[in-house]
């Protein structure tokens, strides 16, 4: 009898949990396209999330899109020091900018150290493409920009290495963006 009751209870649990999963599962929207697969810190646990862009970020991104559509090279939306750093990493080659997302990491502290995060973007990067990431943080009027190492993985994801400085700025900023530039 106990066994039968247990079986019934277990079945009920499974059925209700399936229904709960079905109900709980959200539907994907365009703001969910970019996924942070993992964020591994040198110490402790860190979460990096893709968030809705703030109004200030939207203004900056809109201006950037307009500039590039108007004929500017994508790297020129960043300041000259950043452009030089990009050229140092990738060489003097033609670049594309296909991904810019707003990111957040409010719980990060410097004790966590550097962070390597893996992203799945809508753009399917290939392992033979050279990439670089640029983080912009917005607090006050002048954004701060950081050039970070990035690489496309065999499975199409992109790994970005966030320095302690960049992560600390992201955590403290009102808003931050992550842009991925790639060789053509």
């Amino acid at each position: 009898m106990k066994k039968v009751l247990s079986l019934i209870l277990a079945t009920l649990l499974v059925l209700t949990s399936v229904a709960a999963v079905a109900e709980a599962l959200p539907s994907k929207t365009t703001t969910d396209i970019t996924v942070v697969n993992e964020a591994v810190a040198e110490n402790g646990e860190v979460t990096i999330t893709v968030v809705e862009p703030t109004e200030k970020v939207l203004e900056a991104l809109t201006a950037a899109v307009e500039a590039v559509l108007g004929g500017a090279k994508p790297e020129t939306i960043f300041d000259e020091d950043v452009q030089a750093a990009i050229a140092e990493k990738l060489g003097d080659v033609e670049l594309e900018l296909n991904e810019i997302v707003a990111v957040s990491a409010p719980e990060y502290t410097e004790e966590n150290g550097a962070v390597t995060a893996k992203f799945t973007f809508a753009t399917a990067y290939t392992a033979d493409q050279k990439l670089v990431a640029v983080v912009c943080t917005y607090t006050g009027d002048v954004p701060e920009e950081f050039v970070l190492d990035a690489a496309a993985n065999e499975d199409g994801t992109v790994s970005v290495t966030f320095t302690v400085e960049a992560m600390a700025k992201i955590a403290a900023a009102d808003a931050a963006t992550l842009a991925i530039l790639n060789t053509k």
């Binding site: 079905a22 599962l25 539907s27 994907k28 929207t29 862009p53 991104l61 809109t62 991904e99 753009t123």
Partner: protein
């Protein structure tokens, strides 16, 4: 004699002048035609080779030929609120409602396929700056997100649906944003639907187990919302959308029967919240033809719901179900 000579000279001169004018006219015609051809080059296909040939397909050892005289139209309902943050070429929102209607003008039927917004398929992706960056398998609703304007958003959605349906031709589309749901409902004087789910969390006047005429915001609530309604699934929401569609179609049929210009009135009502690739005249003609046809209830594809690795709902349509629907609707077996 002299008078006769002069007359004859005049006739010859006149004839020569006429011939010159005619020759000049012919030359002018050819020059003009050439210039026009260069300005508007004619698209030359394989008309001489394949004239009169309808496409065929092979499936499980049988040959099928495409039915003649079909018009396929994709209805897109997209969710892109004005205050949603958007950037560059990723600003189209999602196509949460997709119905492909295939008008068979020979058999006077309309077949419909309601496509789950979470159906996984290859979607063409644009980078944020508009670069074409390949395709990714993702929920079909996201195809509408790519592009910088309504026309491009709709084009990418049409392409995604056609790809899902093995390249089935989609001739026309009509896309409407969510604001259009209530507008459409009001234009029809309120669509009557069964309230099969518990809406008490949103509107206590929408009593489960009753049938009611939707008014005001209720139409959008009925077809768009799902959280805290019934089991909260898109599957159940699609069933509500189907109820709304069936009732709305019936109302449209009745109204066109009573008032010949109703199609025009309806399109006027949704003009500000919709976009299409077809002229108003053609759209009205298609509606006025189709309303007299045998409009079948919408089909859905068989498949499996599962959670993706990213935690979002995915619907994996069975290939057999897709091909079976395409063959049934688009093709005739070749004896």
């Amino acid at each position: 004699m002299r008078h006769g000579y002069e007359a004859k000279t005049k006739r010859i001169t006149g004839a020569v002048a006429l011939i010159v004018v005619l020759v000049l006219a012919v030359i002018g015609f050819f020059i003009f035609s050439k210039l026009e051809e260069e300005a508007y080059p004619e698209q030359r296909g394989q008309m001489s080779k394949d004239f009169g040939k309808l496409p065929t397909m092979e499936y499980q050892g049988k040959t099928y030929q495409m039915k003649p005289n079909l018009t396929s139209m994709l209805f897109i309902g997209y969710d892109k609120t004005d205050d949603a943050p958007t950037v560059g070429f990723r600003q189209g929102g999602q196509a949460d409602f997709l119905v492909l209607s295939v008008l068979d003008h020979r058999n006077k039927t309309v077949h419909q396929l309601q496509i789950d917004r979470d159906t996984m398929t290859n979607v063409a992706v644009l980078g944020v700056m508009g670069n074409k960056v390949g395709t990714r398998v993702m929920q079909i609703c996201l195809s509408h997100g790519f592009g910088a304007d309504d026309e491009t958003n709709s084009k990418y959605t049409v392409d995604a649906v056609s790809n899902l349906l093995q390249g089935a031709p989609i001739d026309l589309y009509l896309a409407m944003d969510i604001r259009g749901i209530n507008i459409l409902n009001d234009a029809l004087g309120g669509v009557k639907v069964p309230i099969e789910d518990d809406f008490s969390a949103y509107d206590p006047t929408m009593v489960q187990g009753t049938t009611m005429k939707l008014q005001g915001q209720q139409a959008e609530l009925y077809v768009r919302s799902r959280y805290h309604i019934g089991d909260g699934t898109n599957e159940q929401r699609m069933r509500r959308q189907q109820h709304f569609m069936d009732a709305a179609v019936q109302l449209i049929q009745e109204r066109i029967s009573a008032e010949a210009s109703f199609a025009d009135t309806l399109l006027d009502a949704i003009e500000e919240v919709s976009n299409t690739n077809v002229t108003r005249g053609r759209l009205i003609n298609e509606i006025n033809r189709a309303y007299k046809y045998d409009i079948r209830p919408a089909d859905t594809l068989a498949g499996e719901y599962k959670a993706g690795d990213d935690g979002f709902m995915e619907f994996h349509a069975s290939e057999e179900s897709i091909i079976s629907w395409i063959i049934n609707v688009f093709y005739n077996p070749v004896e």
